[in-house]
Amino acid sequence: MWHVSMVCIISSYAVSLLLETMRLLRNATWMYPLSLLMTAAGLLAHTIYLASRSSQVSLPPLVASSYDWFLVLAWVMVVGYVSISLVYRKTPYGILFLPLILLLVSVSLLFQSSPQPVVRDFRVLTMVHTASLVFAFAGVLSAIVLAVMYLLQHYRLRSGNAFLKRFHLPSLEQLSRWNRGAVIIAVPLLTVGVGSGILLGLRHPEKLPHFSLFDPLIAGYLISFAIMLGLFIRLLTTPSGTGKHMAWMTIWVCGFLLLSVVGLQILSGANVSSNNWHGGS
């Protein structure tokens, strides 16, 4: 049954992405509501799927497994995208958001969907850990999208590219502010997420015997986090509106964080015991 639901979710988002791409090429008035309708249908299927998963495993979807965690992250991104789409109707923002959402849904399929037993013992702390990380990663993904938007707008203004002129984007100053805001929100949440994760491992060594700060997986996360913290400090110490350089830096740092986390999660499936909460398939 879940295969059907995942197909349903992925197809809705894929059709919506197609419509959004067509909107950029040929802006017919009927395309926007249709695209929004397809995303809404996907979101509904996505929500029902998460709810049914939660009742199946008797755990909130956020904490059940990495599989559920990626699906929740995708869900948060869809809610964000739909909200933006309702406010800024002229611009097909789906071109930027939907590929990321599809990627997150696809990545979730790489992970085991069975719940980790350790979660049931420290539910509150695990909830804090996963929830803060979900919102932190939503911030990281938004920062990447905003940085890409900044670069597109910058290129459009500098080159006068006729095709991009149809892609109405907010001002450089606005994008720069939002980008800064997304990173500023993401980093504290990431700190809470990482901190609660370490606390979880250190306070309950009997339940997580393989937890170690020198574990390649944990060490990898910490290095990514430190780099992200570096960007955060740079953003706070540099006056706003410093432009293209900052946009590239956001893409590199956030992209690195995202790739390292996803990559390490996938690799951990082979190398790390499934007793570790972060253990994969």
Partner: protein
Amino acid sequence: MKVSVTYCNHETTSVSLREKIAFASDDDFARGYEIIRSQFPNHECVIVSTCNRIEFYLATDQQEITCPSVDDFVKTISLIHDVSPEDYQTAFRQQCDDHCLLHLFEVASSLDSMVLGEDQIVHQVKASYLKAQNYMAVGTGLHHLFQSALNVASTVRKKTRLSEGKTSIASVAVGEFGRSIFADYTDKQVLVIGAGEMAEEALNYLRDAGVRNTIVINRTYEKAIKLAETFGGTTAPFEDLDKYLASADIIIAATGAPSAWLTAERVSLARKANRTKTQFILDLGAPRDFADDVGRLDDNLFLYNIDDLEEVCQKNRELRVKEVAKARKMIEDAAAKCLAQLRQRNAAPVIANLRTRWEQIGKSEYDRLTSKLSHLPAEDLKQVEIAVDRIINKLLHTPIEAIRKQSLEESHESFVDTLKRLFHLTD
């Protein structure tokens, strides 16, 4: 009367070519009128030179003179501005007679403008006409044409919605490009270089957009003070320009300088302290004030000139299609009326000539008769004189009416020629 316009504009050529032949100063105009007068004697002339167009209106009453060709004009322009005629071979267009009329009316009504409905152009056309009067280059023909054009422009502005919304080049430029760079103008420092009409338009829009910190810099300090006072800004001496080139967020340049005087080296030096600062430079000058390579100095500098507005203005035009159709109908009606008046004006000397000739014949016949009938009392002779006048008037009535009627037709010139030959009339 023969009228023609030879012109280049934002559609026919780039600003880099237009700026080389622009009439930026009084010296340029003086030289232009002098050379045109020597090249095309017996012609009235008005030169219209704005940031988007350079147009030469010529008119002559002498029917045997043919309109100067585009090539003739290109040669004349090369004499005025010392440019190579080859560069401008394809830049110029020409319209004659009724097409010329339509062109002038469309220009004055801003239908031919980059920003549809902008009202700057009507002031520019009027100023050009007054300037031509100062150079004694305008006669009754072009006077009638320009007066009609200004009247039509006023009617179009009042009776259509062409002038609603953003209708100045400056407002479209700041609105489109500025808004893509900055989200908020309230905390931005705006530097306006120049104190002319374009600078005023830009300040007008920026004030409405919420700009609070404006500095006006102009070579003539008094003009800068006057403009700054109008818009609640401040002024700075021309010597301090580099300081503000570094600190301003938005720079609008619209001076009448003859060439690009703000070079890449100068701007680079000004930005040396803070190259990460985002700056939006709008060069509305024609000739341009900023050198082309200023825009390539670094990634945080956005330089736009008049030609960059073309696509934005196309959107503005599409929004006003209905109003354009309405305006065009008014213009066509007014042009037809003006053309009829011009043609009737052309026929007037022929009518006067015909009447004089026939009255001379009548008078000589009357004189011959009075010498033979000297015995008749004065009262009878008066009756004879009245009778001769009435015969002449009745005989003239039909041909005069025919001339008047025919003068409204396009083929009136051949008809007038036939009459001249028929009645041995001379100009």
